[in-house]
């Protein structure tokens, strides 16, 4: 009753007035009177001159403090608001979400998994939070790579590696930006480094178990050539003795090359859009394959099994830089057996 009476008091046409108090029960009238007196005692009317002076200061400092404009993507506006999508997706029944979480790119639920990752990215608003989400997603790509190799489906590895590169770079960039803004990024940096170390170890592990073309991607040899290719830029060259993290590693985002961005479900936001979207500025020119032509246009994520005559790697194959021979070519055929030949990690 007090609450309602106070609300009437404050919002009524007469403001706080005796008329309002007459309607309230007797026991709370003294409290209402006190509230009215408080309101009177607390009121302040700033001077217009001071208001203007402070405004001058604020507006002078404003350009430097302006947050980056939020770019509205027409497709996003067309769909449900991201937060609503995020809430809807995260409210999926536990069984479905659980199943999706463990889905690999060869699973029909994989697009849902991508959407869940996207939703988590949207929910995490702070830069360190988004960096952690991106690093976590990069870690999942590694799990998927291992799973696909274990299942004898190495044709998914190239795409997954491209996505891993994008996501770990996003995590790195977000963490760097957060650090510049004074956020504590110790934990997320440790997470990124651990993920990178796990990547290196995994690449060492699977190199002998994947076809030559995928090996080339792992080593990032230009043109998909065999040993001797120049790993300049792009994915780091793997050394058997340890991990390599050359500067400018992974340009999967530059030039709009990211396979993930092309294969993401229509209208969806890829996790990389948590921090950035589209081509990364200032990244070295893409040595990575150009847009996956074969995999775009209707391919709703990676979950779809390769269409007849179109293997997941084929589009990437087509986009290989000039001179790329592309030793890995499904062309609808089964990939060469990974056991073919002796595979050593570093022939050079």
């Amino acid at each position: 009753m007090l609450d309602a009476s106070l609300a009437d008091l404050i919002s009524g046409p007469g403001g706080i007035g005796a008329g309002s108090r007459r309607q309230a029960p007797a026991q709370i009238q003294p409290l209402l009177a006190l509230a009215a007196a408080c309101r009177d005692a607390l009121e302040i009317e700033p001077s217009p001159e001071r208001r203007a002076a402070v405004k001058t200061r604020v507006m002078a400092a404003a350009p430097a403090r302006l947050s980056a404009p939020v770019k509205k993507r027409p497709l996003r506006r067309f769909l449900l608001r991201p937060a609503t999508v995020a809430a809807a997706i995260l409210a999926l029944t536990g069984a479905t979400a659980l199943a999706a979480n463990s889905a690999g790119p060869d699973n029909i639920l994989y697009p849902l998994k991508q959407k869940l990752e996207e939703a988590r990215s949207i929910v995490a608003m702070s830069k360190p939070g988004r960096a952690a989400v991106a690093a976590g997603d990069a870690g999942k790509r590694l799990d998927e790579i291992k799973a696909m190799v274990d299942k004898g489906k190495p044709q998914y590895v190239s795409e997954l590696l491209a996505n891993y590169d994008q996501q770990i770079n996003d995590a790195q960039n977000l963490a760097a930006a957060a650090r510049q803004e004074g956020d504590d990024t110790t934990a997320v940096m440790a997470m990124i480094e651990a993920t990178r170390a796990r990547h290196d170890a995994l690449m060492n592990e699977i190199l002998g178990r994947v076809p030559a073309g995928v090996q080339a991607v792992i080593r990032h040899e230009e043109g998909g050539a065999g040993a001797g290719g120049n790993p300049a830029g792009g994915r780091g060259k793997m050394n058997p003795g340890g991990s390599t993290r050359p500067a400018g590693r992974s340009t999967s985002g530059s030039g709009g090359v990211s396979g993930r961005s092309r294969n993401a479900p229509a209208g969806g936001q890829t996790p990389n859009s948590a921090g950035q979207s589209g081509p990364k500025q200032g990244m070295p020119p893409a040595v990575e394959p150009a847009p996956q032509q074969g995999a775009s246009g209707g391919n709703n994520g990676q979950s779809q099994a390769p269409a007849a005559g179109t293997a997941p790697g084929q589009g990437m194959q087509q986009g290989m830089p000039q001179g790329g021979q592309g030793s890995y070519n499904h062309a609808g055929q089964n990939p060469p057996s990974p056991e073919a030949g002796s595979m050593t990690f570093d022939r050079r």
């Binding site: 106070l6 309101r39 009177d40 005692a41 607390l42 001071r50 402070v54 405004k55 400092a61 947050s67």
Partner: protein
């Protein structure tokens, strides 16, 4: 256009980098924010600095604002509340000291209706308010000065609406006891 829609449009413009729109937001919210801050810190100079900081911080963070929860006003006052707390931490002061020493005898607009039945001295009332708990003070400031709803107050104080109602009742009850004790 409804007020909320107009405000929403302004905010979207600011989010796109429109500083003129930001200036309009400032014009709209400066007075209540300044008053809220001044009533806590006591010094007009400090209040101006803090208020300027509130708006600049809001400008920095407005990209992440969305219309969920209690709305823009509550969001802005959350920033204000934290900035006041930071001010006290930096100064090594507590709020009581600030209030006791403050220039609380700030000229205020005369109420046309002069509705208070009891002739409570304004300064005595203000001093009594600062004897309440932190949460109770905030509820009174936000309800009586800023005209926030319980939902908005709950968002600023990170409490439930039920808790806000209870705080409101307790605040006025305690205030009355303090004032009656002073009158004795």
């Amino acid at each position: 256009m409804s007020e909320k829609r107009e405000l929403s449009k302004l905010i979207k413009q600011v989010q796109k980098g429109d500083l003129d729109a930001f200036g309009k937001l400032y014009d709209r919210f400066y007075d209540p924010v300044y008053a809220y801050v001044l009533r806590q810190v006591g010094s007009p100079a400090d209040a101006e600095d803090i208020t300027a900081g509130v708006f600049l911080e809001a400008l920095e963070k407005i990209g992440g604002f969305s219309w969920r929860g209690a709305g823009f006003g509550a969001w802005l006052f959350s920033i204000a509340r934290h900035d006041v707390l930071d001010h006290f931490r930096r100064q090594g002061k507590n709020r009581e000291a600030a209030i006791t020493n403050n220039h609380m005898d700030i000229p205020s607009q005369e109420y046309v209706e002069a509705t208070a039945e009891a002739a409570w001295d304004r300064q005595a009332l203000r001093n009594a308010i600062w004897k309440l708990s932190d949460d109770q003070q905030h509820v009174l400031l936000l309800k009586l000065m800023v005209n926030f709803s319980n939902r908005q107050i709950a968002a600023v104080l990170s409490k439930g609406e039920g808790a806000v109602k209870a705080l409101q009742h307790r605040a006025l009850t305690n205030l009355r006891k303090i004032m009656e004790g002073n009158d004795d």
